[in-house]
Structure formats: structure tokens, C-alpha cells
């Protein structure tokens, strides 16, 4: 019979390397028409990092995402970057790009100040214009300023900068220190059906509530969360590399190494927790890795809630779940009164779902 259960898991996860320096450098060039080119040594690995980095540069320069072209991943042309690792791109590379864009913007302000009859400190960049703070009617198009800077003042607007997260090394005896500049937090709740005769687990729904500081691009944050959950489901229920007794892999192929497909994906509901990290670019932290962290834990707790069976080793294959169910039943028989807690929870959940 299929039993329904729910499980909750929360987590914390750091941004960047453990203590070790993991710098990023960036160059931002404002073209003479007010568009911009960003040079970064990071590599787009499919997560949309270049879009996010472009948005950060655009925000600092007061222009639109589409006005920015990001050049990446060529050691001859792009500056040093520690790379797409440790959920650090938005935070570390993003900070470097923001700082570089700020420097380019300062040149624009210096050029625009006499044109507008104010001091550079009184200016801001917004909506593709350089304008006087609290008096936006007094403005010049950013393209005009950039053109003037380059061709009249001979002062092209470009900036370069680098960023390295602030850490304090760990005491070798006690491990005390500040290994990371910042952390993100998240909770996932899973709802599952467990067949108590076969041990098969079906994940029905996952609610994911993730902190990433300011979401620079909420759509890409959601994409990361959904992708991370699919990886988490594989880790929880299906994927396992097996070895024979001589250390040779038994299933090095996608026929026998089972990964979740779209058919295994549950309904996913994503929430981004409101947060702002003052050390991140526009309050942003990161989201890449943490999305895959709490999924397996939530599913295991849901299995326990459904059938009272605690799985101690991943993946929770039907064989392992069935074995755990048998252990749970044996325990229940041994002390019939004490452990009747887990079961009644399952029923109201079913009722509620039927009503939905």
C-alpha cells in the first residue's frame, strides 16, 4: 500500500573557497555609444552566470542588460578568475565587475560634471543617463558622455578591479577562524509516496525556499534550484557507482547508472527568501551548489514520516527502503505501545491533497 509522508530539511552553505584566496579580476569598458563590454576570466557553465554578471555591470552603469556584452574565458584577453566553482561567481566575480564598472563610471562623472555644471559627486547613472542626484531633469545621455569622454576629452571610460573574499585562517589546533566571507541558507520540504510492499519511493512535491541575497536574476535562481533538486533526487534515490571486488566499475554507463529524467521530477515550488548581504554586489550572494544540498535529506525524512523507516545509507533504493521498513516493523512489534507515532500523520496529508 502507498503511504504518504513529508520531510523537512534546512541547510547552510558558504560562498567561495575555504580560507584560501580565490580572487576575480574584471575589466569594464564603456563604449562611445554608452553600451559596455565586460572582460571576465570566468566560464559560463550553463548556469547563466554571464547574464547575471552583465546585469551587475549594467546596474552599476545605469544601463540595460542588453547594453552589456560579456567576453569570457580566454587567457589571452580576459583577466584572472578563480572560475566557476564554490558558488562564487555572482559574489566574487560580481563584486570585481561592480568595482570595475564603478571606476569606469567615475570617469563618466568627471567628464559629465562640467557639462552639467555640478561636481562629480553630485551625479548618478540611471536609465542610460548621467543625471544630477535628486534633480533627474538635469541629465545627459550616457552615450553622449561616453562619446565626449573618448573623442573630446581623450579619456575613454574604462575600469579594472579585483575582489577577494575576506577570510581569517583557521587555527590548526581548534579550527577556529573565519573560513568564508558569507553563507546562504535554505529549506526544502518533500512530499513522497512510499509503497510499503515494494519499497518504491515517488517524490510528489518539493517546496524549496532559498536565500541567495538579492536575486540578480530571479528566473536564473529558479532554474538553478530546479536543477539542483533534480541532482538531489538522483543522489537520494537512484544514482550509485558500483565496483566489483577488484575495484572495476560495474555500471559506467547511463544504461545501468540510473539518473532522474523529467518523468522523475516532482512538482517544484520555489521561493526566494528576501535578504540583502551588504558585502555582495547589490546584496547578492550565490545559489549554485546549495540547491542540491537539502533535497536528499528532506526526502529521507519524508520516507520516515510515511512508513517509519529510517534509511541510513544513500541511495534509498527500494531494497534499502524495504529493509528499513522491516526493521521498523520489528521494532514496533518489540514495543507495541511506544512507537505508534509515525503512522497517523500520513492520513491527513492524503486528505488535504485530495482536496487540492
Amino acid at each position: 500500500m502507498k503511504k504518504r509522508g513529508r520531510g523537512i530539511a534546512c541547510m547552510w552553505y558558504p560562498i567561495g573557497f575555504t580560507v584560501a584566496a580565490n580572487a576575480s579580476a574584471a575589466v569594464v569598458k564603456v563604449n562611445e555609444d554608452g553600451t559596455a563590454t565586460v572582460l571576465t576570466g570566468t566560464v559560463e557553465t550553463g548556469q547563466g552566470s554571464l547574464t547575471v554578471l552583465g546585469q551587475i555591470a549594467a546596474e552599476e552603469l545605469g544601463i540595460a542588460t542588453d547594453d552589456v556584452h560579456v567576453v569570457s574565458a580566454d587567457t589571452d584577453t580576459t583577466p584572472m578568475d578563480t572560475g566557476a566553482i564554490a558558488s562564487r561567481t555572482t559574489y566574487v566575480t560580481g563584486n570585481a565587475i561592480r568595482l570595475a564598472a564603478e571606476k569606469a563610471k567615475e570617469i563618466l562623472f568627471q567628464v559629465a560634471a562640467p557639462m552639467l555644471g555640478v561636481k562629480p559627486e553630485q551625479l548618478e547613472a540611471r536609465d542610460r543617463k548621467i543625471q544630477v542626484k535628486n534633480y533627474p531633469q538635469r541629465c545627459i545621455g550616457i552615450g553622449e558622455v561616453a562619446n565626449h569622454a573618448q573623442f573630446v576629452m581623450g579619456q575613454p571610460a574604462l575600469g579594472s578591479a579585483s575582489y577577494n573574499p575576506h577570510t581569517v585562517s583557521l587555527d590548526p589546533e581548534t579550527g577556529q577562524g573565519k573560513p568564508f566571507a558569507t553563507y546562504v541558507y535554505a529549506t526544502q520540504i518533500a512530499e513522497v509516496d512510499v509503497d510499503d510492499e515494494t519499497g518504491e519511493v515517488e517524490v510528489l512535491r518539493i517546496v524549496a525556499s532559498h536565500d541567495c541575497g538579492t536575486p540578480i536574476n530571479p528566473m536564473l535562481v529558479e532554474g538553478q534550484i530546479e536543477g539542483g533538486i533534480s541532482m538531489g533526487i538522483g543522489f537520494a534515490l537512484q544514482e550509485e557507482m558500483l565496483f566489483d571486488k577488484n575495484g572495476k566499475q560495474l555500471n559506467p554507463n547511463l544504461t545501468n547508472y540510473i539518473m532522474p529524467t523529467s518523468l522523475d521530477m516532482p512538482e517544484i515550488e520555489v521561493d526566494i527568501v528576501k535578504n540583502f548581504d551588504p558585502t555582495g554586489p547589490f546584496g547578492a550572494k550565490g545559489v549554485g551548489e546549495p540547491t542540491a544540498v537539502p533535497t536528499a535529506a528532506a526526502i529521507m525524512n519524508a520516507i520516515y514520516n510515511a512508513v517509519g523507516a529510517r534509511v541510513h545509507s544513500l541511495p534509498a533504493t527500494p531494497e534499502k527502503v524495504l529493509a528499513a521498513i522491516k526493521v521498523a516493523r520489528a521494532k514496533q512489534l518489540a514495543k507495541p505501545k511506544a512507537k505508534a507515532l509515525a503512522k497517523p500523520k500520513a492520513k491527513p496529508a492524503q486528505k488535504r491533497l485530495a482536496a487540492r
Partner: protein, 480 residues
């Protein structure tokens, strides 16, 4: 201009929802444009040519200011959708050769002899190299214990022993069969707990199999246990998994007449990659150019070089560009994987479910080489107590060599493993104390200014917010 391009992007996006699905016709200029006549959908054997748009296709959301917070579409999204993204394997150069690597297939052995003569005599085979042809045959992000191609020892079954460059992939593959390697099997160890024993076979003798450790100590854990109302103890373990990126590892090495090397690679970290190339090939950094494109999935598996120095040496010998693309089998046997971790938890709690003390012991199966194990070890150890205020913490972690596929960086660096353990453990504690799982987490969760297990004062902490927000969305309280 913006408006016009919007219109165009709409036209390109609509056809999938139209009733008449695209059929083969001369008129089908754009991808999937609705055409006259319905009939069954026939997929063309070769993808149709897509005309390049004259005007930039920029959806409105990319044109808005301020830029932060916009659901801006990715400039590479259209290319992915049209199947036009150029990955490394889509690139080829005139005269390019293909490389294949012979894998050991035995997990611990001494290489007595490698006979490449028969393979080298095959028509189309241009060069074959072994470990001795790599100028500095070792690499690794922390411990440089991994050879590009095996020297005289095999440490795991996926080790490469020889690399072939041939005019076609097929010939290179066939040449692997003709390479004769004589092995002398050696003792091996596969279980991390076995490997930790003094009597165990030393994978990288004379060094100990425990190649890195980590210790986090805060407060006095024994005192915490003495003050606890109840103590819970449990052990959890996880398996080895692969990253399985859609795109396998692929690189092309090419030298120019000035002796400058260009590597096109799927590497996610070109800065470190170039440093590794310079070291293994003994070249100044200025003579190496490393170029990446959009990587088809990394997840930590493409954080270090693999075959690149071998490709570079083959290219230098032959004077032609050399491409190497891993097969799916190689992705499993010859690239890094996620650490299996054995996790022992001992937790002391107060009557109202507050965690007073927690002792954690982690044993990570490190496989044959260090790779990113030190980082994984550190992160797993620091994160292992969970996002909870605990006064007394003792967390220790060990990573151990075994004669298995090396473990390394993978999305979460040990965090998914320890999260499974600390959160399973948490629910068991909650049930024993008859506290709701959400409630026990709220009672213990970090708050702004909490002190982490390493004594760091935490800022922008929203664990409780995320717990409450998820519970609200799920209907956690209603169901109870």
C-alpha cells in the same frame, strides 16, 4: 529598433503552440514555422539551416533599467534552443587528429612493459605517447599526486596508460586494442576503513593512506554531553556518484610556428588550467592560451585538467592539432566523482530539544588521488554540525586513499552528504522528544549574529525565514 526586434522574437517563439506542426517543405525557412498541410511530424535527418536574424533579438526584459532583479533572458538561450551552441567538440581545425586514451582496466599494478609497435604501425596512427613523454607527469589542485598518464604504477582502473593520435577517431580507438601492456598485479585496498589501518596496503607508499584531516573544536563537547538530558548517536553513509554533464570532457591542443600553444577546452577554470599546463609542459605562461566556450555542464567535474597535457604533447610531436573527447565510460571511470562519506553523529540535547553538544566523525573515501578532497574535507567538516547554535562542537574528518576512481569537487563539496546525516538525525531527535520537526529546527537555528562552529559571527542569516516560508508554502501546519 527595440520594438521591431520584439516582434521578430515573438514570431520565432510562437510556432510550437500552433496546431499545424512543421513538416518537411522547401518553404520552411525559419525553425518550426507553421506550414500549409498538417500531416505527421517528420524529423529531418539533418537539422535545418536556420537563417541568422539581421537585427538583434532582444526581448523587452533585457532592455529594462534598472537591470538587477530583471528576469533577463540569457543571450545563449536562443543558441541552445536552436541547437546552435558551439561546444568544443563542434570545433575542428584543418589536419586535426583525434586522440584516444588506453585505460588500465586493473586497479593496482606495476607496469612492466608497454609495447606500442603494432599500434604505431597501423595506417593512420600518427603518434603514441606514455607517461614518460609528459615533461612533468603530475598535477592536482593541492597534492600533486595524479599523473597525466601512468608512469610505472596504476592506482585505479581508469588510469590512462597510453595516448594515441590518429587521423580518425575510429583508427585511434582500434589502435588502443593493439597496444600491449604487461602488468604485475599489486595489493589493493577499496574500503576506506580498511585503508585507515596500519596494516593496510599503502596506495601511495610510503605515505599514509590518510592524506588529509580536519578538526573543528568549540567549547567542551564532553562537558556538553554531561549536561545533556539525552544523548543520541547514529551513523549514516553515502555513495559515490558522477556529475554526468551532458557534454563530456573535450579539448583541442594546437601549436603555432612560434611555439605557442592554444588549448580549446571544456575546463571551467581556465586560469588554474593554464597554470597546470605550464607546469606539466614546462612552458612559460605567456606561451599558453587557454580558451573555453560555454561549458555543457560542469558541477565540479571540470575544475582541473585531465587529458590536456597529453593532447599538447601529441600535437607537438605530430605538428597537427589534436582533439580528445571523453566517452561516457571515461566520464565515469577517469574523471572525479562525489565522495562517499561515513558519518558518525553523537548529539546531546536538553529536555526542550536544544542541541547542547555535537560530536561528528567523518571518513571520506578519497579514491586514488587527492584532487579537491582537501576542500571537500574542510567544507564537510565545518558544515557538519548543521545551521544550528551549538555551544560545544567537536568535528573531525579524515580523507583516505583507496584504489578506486578519484573523488573530487562536486556540487556541494560534501554538504549534501552531511546535510543528509544532520537532518535525518534531527528528525530522530525530534520524534524521541515528541517535538515537531519544524519546531525543533526553529529552536536551534542560527540567527543574525550567531557564532558558527568555527567561531565566525554570521551575518545576513535567514535560516528561520526560509524554514517558515517553506512551511507556509507547503502547508506544514495545516496538515498537522
Amino acid at each position: 529598433m527595440a520594438q521591431k526586434s520584439n516582434k521578430q522574437s515573438k514570431r520565432m517563439d510562437t510556432p510550437m503552440s500552433e496546431k499545424s506542426r512543421p513538416v518537411r517543405s522547401k518553404k520552411s525557412a525559419g525553425i518550426g514555422l507553421p506550414l500549409e498541410g498538417s500531416g505527421t511530424l517528420r524529423l529531418p535527418a539533418v537539422a535545418k539551416q536556420v537563417p541568422f536574424p539581421i537585427e538583434a533579438l532582444a526581448p523587452k526584459v533585457r532592455q529594462q533599467t534598472p537591470a538587477v532583479g530583471q528576469r533577463a533572458t540569457r543571450p545563449d538561450g536562443r543558441l541552445h534552443g536552436l541547437g546552435q551552441t558551439k561546444y568544443i567538440d563542434d570545433i575542428s581545425f584543418p589536419g586535426m587528429l583525434y586522440c584516444k586514451i588506453k585505460r588500465a582496466g586493473i586497479s593496482s599494478a606495476l607496469i612492466k612493459k608497454i609495447d606500442t609497435s603494432e599500434a604505431l604501425a597501423m595506417p593512420g596512427v600518427m603518434a603514441i605517447i606514455t607517461g614518460k613523454d609528459i615533461p612533468v607527469n603530475s598535477y592536482g589542485p593541492s597534492i600533486k599526486d595524479q599523473p597525466v598518464l601512468a608512469d610505472d604504477r596504476v592506482f585505479h582502473a581508469g588510469d590512462g596508460v597510453a595516448a594515441v593520435a590518429a587521423i580518425t577517431e575510429q583508427i585511434a580507438q582500434e589502435a588502443l586494442e593493439k597496444i600491449k601492456v604487461e602488468y604485475e598485479p599489486m595489493p589493493a585496498v577499496y574500503d576506506p576503513f580498511e585503508a585507515m589501518k596500519d596494516s593496510a596496503h599503502k596506495v601511495h607508499a610510503p605515505a599514509s593512506n590518510i592524506y588529509a584531516t580536519k578538526l573543528i573544536k568549540k567549547g567542551d563537547v564532553e562537558k556538553g554531553f554531561r549536561e545533556s538530558y539525552r544523548i543520541f548517536e547514529d551513523t549514516f553513509s553515502t555513495q559515490m556518484v558522477e556529475h554526468v554533464p551532458l557534454e563530456p570532457h573535450c579539448s583541442i591542443a594546437a601549436w603555432d610556428a612560434n611555439g605557442r600553444l592554444t588549448i580549446h577546452s571544456t575546463l571551467g577554470r581556465i586560469t588554474l588550467g593554464r597554470t597546470d599546463m605550464a607546469r606539466t609542459l614546462q612552458l612559460p605562461l605567456s606561451r599558453i592560451r587557454m580558451v573555453a566556450t560555454i561549458v555543457g555542464g560542469n558541477f565540479g567535474g571540470k575544475n582541473e585538467i585531465t587529458q590536456e597535457p597529453a593532447l599538447a604533447v601529441l600535437s607537438k610531436i605530430t605538428g597537427r592539432p589534436v582533439k580528445g573527447t571523453f566517452t561516457r565510460v571515461e566520464e565515469f571511470i577517469a574523471t572525479t566523482t562525489r565522495h562517499p562519506i561515513n558519518m558518525h553523529y553523537k548529539t546531546g540535547v536538553s529536555k526542550d530539544g536544544r542541541i547542547l553538544a555535537r560530536k561528528v566523525r567523518l571518513v571520506l573515501d578519497g579514491g586514488a588521488y587527492c584532487s579537491w578532497s582537501e576542500t571537500t574535507l574542510g567544507k564537510a567538516c565545518i558544515l557538519s554540525p548543521g545551521p544550528y547554535n551549538i555551544e560545544h562542537v567537536h568535528a573531525e574528518a579524515f580523507v583516505v586513499y583507496t584504489n578506486k576512481t578519484m573523488t573530487g569537487a562536486m556540487r556541494g563539496f560534501g554538504a549534501p552528504q552531511v546535510c543528509f546525516a544532520y537532518e535525518s538525525h534531527m528528525d530522530d531527535i525530534a520524534e524521541a522528544l515528541n517535538i515537531d520537526p519544524l519546531e525543533i529546527r526553529l529552536r536551534n537555528a542560527f540567527h543574525e549574529g550567531s557564532s558558527s562552529p568555527t567561531g565566525q559571527v554570521l551575518h545576513s542569516v535567514v535560516v528561520k525565514d526560509s524554514l517558515l516560508q517553506a512551511a507556509e508554502r507547503f502547508g506544514w501546519k495545516e496538515i498537522r
